[in-house]
């Protein structure tokens, strides 16, 4: 099949970018979206042009490095997948696909489809860890944890930090990401020790980094490739209240 891409091209942080149109032919439905871009880049290179820069690493949906908006949808139209796990069979012959980087002032574009997500790292540095010695792998059930809490914590911990929640939010709010990170620790005994500082510091850093305020539109949970629920945002709010009031 054949698709037409309108890709955001931008030289560096300081220049302004624009859309450039490319026709890509001989696309197979079994190609991943990135394999299709690889094919396009090969032909751009052989024509002596600059290839399109995009972030990717594992290409199996676990590292959180990749992510572009396709026709306004973060990670493309398919639910619960990262861009690297999206295949061209999700599109049809003749489709026009507008491919853009994540748009948020806290995620400045570095080049083409690549954005700088240092702001997420800073939020993690502010509290996304436990500072107790955890030692080696403990015996199973040495610390009793209710099944429900363990499941919830695992769900929250499946956030890969891709930033699709920010990109899909009209306010560029990072509440789903921070909610998932705060929850994953707040639900488990090892994380409860520092829960207050964590909630306060991570939210303060999130605000300082220029993310917007959550409007509870729910777009983030629709676009999150790990289907993190906005229940995590409700829990973050509770953690933050408890930490603020005493």
């Amino acid at each position: 099949m054949k698709v037409t891409l309108q890709v955001w091209r931008q030289k560096n942080r300081t220049t302004t970018g624009d859309f450039v149109s490319y026709d890509v032919e001989n696309v197979s439905g079994d190609m991943s979206f990135f394999e299709m871009l690889d094919m396009l880049n090969n032909s751009l290179i052989s024509e002596g042009e600059d290839p399109i820069s995009f972030d990717h690493d594992c290409r199996e949906g676990i590292c959180g490095t990749c992510g572009v908006s396709i026709n306004g949808r973060a990670h493309g139209p398919l639910k619960g997948v990262t861009t690297c796990q999206l295949h061209m069979r999700s599109f049809s012959d003749g489709d026009v696909l507008v491919v853009e980087p994540w748009r948020a002032s806290a995620f400045p574009v570095i080049r083409d489809l690549v954005v700088d997500r240092t702001s997420f790292d800073k939020i993690m540095e502010a509290g996304g860890y436990v500072s107790i010695k955890t030692g080696g792998t403990p015996d199973a059930n040495a610390i009793p944890i209710p099944k429900f809490d363990a499941e919830e914590a695992m769900d929250s911990a499946s956030c890969i930090g891709c930033g699709a929640c920010v990109a899909s939010c009209k306010n560029s709010s990072a509440m789903l990401f921070v909610g998932a990170k705060v929850s994953q620790f707040a639900l488990l005994p090892q994380g409860k020790v520092e829960r207050k500082e964590r909630a306060l510091n991570m939210v303060a850093t999130m605000d300082d980094e220029g993310f917007g305020n959550c409007s509870n539109t729910g777009a983030c949970e629709v676009e999150c490739p790990k289907e993190i629920s906005i229940i995590n945002i409700a829990r973050l709010n509770r953690e933050f209240f408890k930490a603020s009031f005493n």
Binding site: R103, S172, F211, I231, N237, F241, S244
Partner: protein, 223 residues
């Protein structure tokens, strides 16, 4: 006090203020609707109730001032949120995902809010001002002003404006009411079902009954 200012200036704190003032304003709607439904019941009962409120001036004044303060906080904080959010998201996508990922009402809170404000100013400058004058001059024909006069439902354009504003109020509350409980962190609690039922009352039943009053007087009573 330092913790308090820190809290209300944080992103979550600002949301908390929005939710709290919004819910308190919603409570006023119940009282106002109760009062207005009497329009459909009986002219004399309506007139004597409104007349009676004139006698409770000091209490009514206190409530009015409280409402005005709630409105101011809600509006100023709402404008602040909207401006900051625009700044965080200066460049949207070329293709907008529209309603594929979020409801219309959730994306138009500022627009619906501003329409409600415009309505409110108009409503106060016409009906409320007129009623104050009538209280002062012992004229108690309140019903006629609402039902027949050209600052009330005697004027078809005013009727239409009321209906549009009420539809936007309904949208504002459709998102706002449940959003407030998400903001409080109660959306996943065991009260979830009750909250959802009360939400329907606020975004559907209340604006619906207000609209019923407008339609009845605007299109049937005067013809």
């Amino acid at each position: 006090m330092a913790w308090f200012f820190k809290f209300i200036n944080s992103s979550i704190g600002k949301k908390f203020i929005m939710a709290l003032t919004g819910l308190l304003l919603s409570l006023f709607l119940i009282i106002h609707l109760g009062n207005n439904l009497l329009l459909l019941v009986d002219e004399d009962i309506f007139n004597s109730l409104v007349g009676g409120l004139g006698g409770l001036k000091p209490l009514v004044r206190v409530i009015e001032v409280l409402l005005a303060i709630l409105f101011m906080i809600h509006i100023i904080n709402g404008i602040r949120l909207t401006i900051q959010n625009k700044k965080s998201s200066p460049q949207g996508n070329k293709v907008n995902s529209g309603t594929e990922t979020a409801s219309i009402s959730s994306q138009t809170m500022a627009i619906s809010g501003i329409t409600i404000l415009a309505f409110l100013i108009f409503h106060l400058r016409t009906i409320w001002v007129k009623f104050q004058e009538m209280h002062a001059s012992q004229d108690h024909e309140f019903f006629n002003v609402v039902a027949e006069s050209n600052i009330g439902f005697g004027n078809i354009w005013i009727t239409i404006f009321y209906i549009i504003a009420l539809i936007l109020l309904s949208m504002h509350l459709k998102h706002g009411f449940q959003s407030a409980f998400q903001t409080f962190g109660l959306s996943d609690s065991r009260y979830k079902t009750i909250i959802n039922c009360i939400a329907v009352f606020f975004w559907f039943v209340i604006p619906g009954l207000f609209i019923t009053i407008a339609i009845y007087f605007g299109f049937f009573f005067n013809n």
